[in-house]
């Protein structure tokens, strides 16, 4: 009994305290060092923040270069997949185009009317300068849905700015470095956005799931949400402008979880528009 305990202690000591050839630190000292980094990081220690910024500037660029071959394979994979789906998509697009043409006639009138009404209620917001950013790194990790873009504080990016793919909202800036930033995607588990569900006009919260879709949370009239309803930002809280399209409810069964299919494909993002909205001071 005594011998087996001694063996255990010897094995543990050898594993954690013994330094290998050309090793400066033992495993135990490096574990302690990691713990110190973690604790100081959780306390927002200034030196750790500087260390983080330094590592990020180097690593984001290196990651972009190293990801090159994988991105090349990924792009070709999507090209091949698109070719397989071409016929089906063409048929679908034809029917959608016919439908949209009829709706487009009404659209222009509604936009003008909407702008006039917003001017009346003195709530009209104007865009800041739009900054176009290239996606440097797109790590669709199951644990974190975020992307790195090649614009940072030197390009006037600030925390909380919106990231848009065309006219669709994809996320917001959660980390700003000198020449790069991190955008938290709407699909991330920690993303919560105030939304309006049309045509009912219900206010709710869109929460990310860590998957390719989001879910509707905290709505009293949950049962009244219809399948194929469109999700827009509500503008509540002043973070976002109202009416930015996000996605569509993807369920026909009323008792099911209300899944939101995003308009933008987050795995295909190459360039983003980064911008913010502020109230029009001229009015």
């Amino acid at each position: 009994m005594e011998t087996s305990r001694d063996d255990f202690v010897i094995a543990i000591r050898s594993a954690f305290l013994k330094k290998g050839t050309q090793q400066r630190f033992s495993l135990l000292s490096l574990i302690f060092f990691s713990l110190i980094l973690l604790i100081l990081g959780s306390l927002n220690f200034k030196a750790i923040n500087y260390l983080k910024i330094g590592i990020k500037e180097i690593v984001y660029r290196s990651s972009f270069i190293v990801s090159g071959p994988e991105n090349f394979i990924k792009d070709y994979y999507f090209v091949v997949q698109k070719h397989f789906n071409l016929y089906r998509e063409n048929e679908k697009n034809k029917s959608e185009l016919a439908n949209l043409r009829s709706k487009d006639l009404l659209n222009e009138f509604m936009v003008l009317e909407n702008q006039r009404l917003k001017d009346i209620v003195d709530d009209y917001l104007v865009k800041s300068d739009t900054i176009f950013a290239k996606v440097l790194s797109d790590k669709g990790s199951p644990f974190l849905k975020s992307i790195i873009v090649n614009k940072g504080s030197k390009h006037n990016i600030s925390l909380g700015m919106l990231a848009m793919d065309g006219e669709y909202l994809v996320g917001k800036v959660v980390e700003v470095n000198y020449s790069s930033s991190r955008v938290l995607l709407l699909s991330d588990l920690n993303s919560k956005i105030p939304i309006t569900i049309e045509p009912n006009g219900l206010l709710s919260i869109l929460s990310g799931t860590g998957e390719e879709y989001g879910i509707i949370q905290y709505s009293k009239e949950y049962e009244n949400i219809k399948g194929e309803s469109i999700i827009y930002t509500s503008g509540v809280g002043g973070l976002f402008k109202a009416g930015i399209p996000i996605g569509r409810i993807n369920t026909n069964n009323l008792s099911e979880e209300k899944k939101v299919e995003f308009f933008s494909d987050f795995s295909q993002l190459k360039f983003l528009k980064i911008l913010s909205f502020k109230e029009n001071e001229a009015e």
Partner: protein, 173 residues
């Protein structure tokens, strides 16, 4: 003479290959998520680190593993030092198993790897959730553990093959 020098250079590169692959994998974060498979993700770095800590500890130095962990934290956005801690615990487990093993067996290695994975992922979940208030999906973590465990069989054979036929025989215990 030049041929001999070239041969030595290639041999040196091959012997450093695990370290190169480790850094590429943390910078690139291989996870094949673009395939769109809902229940599929695995952690390549965990497999690589455990295998080399167990079989050929001199290939990956602890210092480099620590740096790789810091890079991984930056790439995936987790608190700095967290991945380093997980990697080093994995190294410790690998080194402990190496010390107590008299007759190596892939099955035993795999199950010890599974236990280590469960411990480090639990630790990761606890630290992320309770200290940094960052929510992780429990089901995704379980899926990741299962696939990482299953891929160990395949990748350890692949690494054995690489070590025996490219680096040199009898290097891997």
């Amino acid at each position: 003479m030049i041929g001999l020098r070239n041969k030595n250079f290639i041999k040196k590169i091959l012997s450093q290959m695990p370290l190169i692959i480790l850094f590429i994998s943390v910078l690139n974060n291989y996870d094949f998520n673009y395939l769109g498979l809902r229940y599929f993700s695995f952690n390549f770095s965990y497999i690589l680190i455990f295998y080399y800590s167990l079989k050929k500890s001199e290939s990956l130095g602890y210092n480099y593993i620590f740096i790789a962990g810091l890079i991984n934290d930056v790439v995936i956005g987790t608190p700095i030092g967290l991945s380093s801690l997980m990697y080093l615990i994995l190294c410790g487990a690998g080194a402990y198993l190496r010390n107590i093993t008299l007759r190596p067996s892939l099955i035993k290695d795999c199950f010890f790897f599974l236990i280590t994975l469960l411990i480090i992922n639990s630790l990761l979940f606890i630290v992320s959730n309770f200290i940094f208030n960052y929510h992780l999906d429990y089901f995704d973590q379980i899926t990741n553990i299962i696939y990482t465990f299953l891929f160990y069989f395949l990748l350890s054979n692949l690494f054995d093959f690489f070590e025996n036929y490219f680096v040199g025989k009898n290097n891997v215990r």
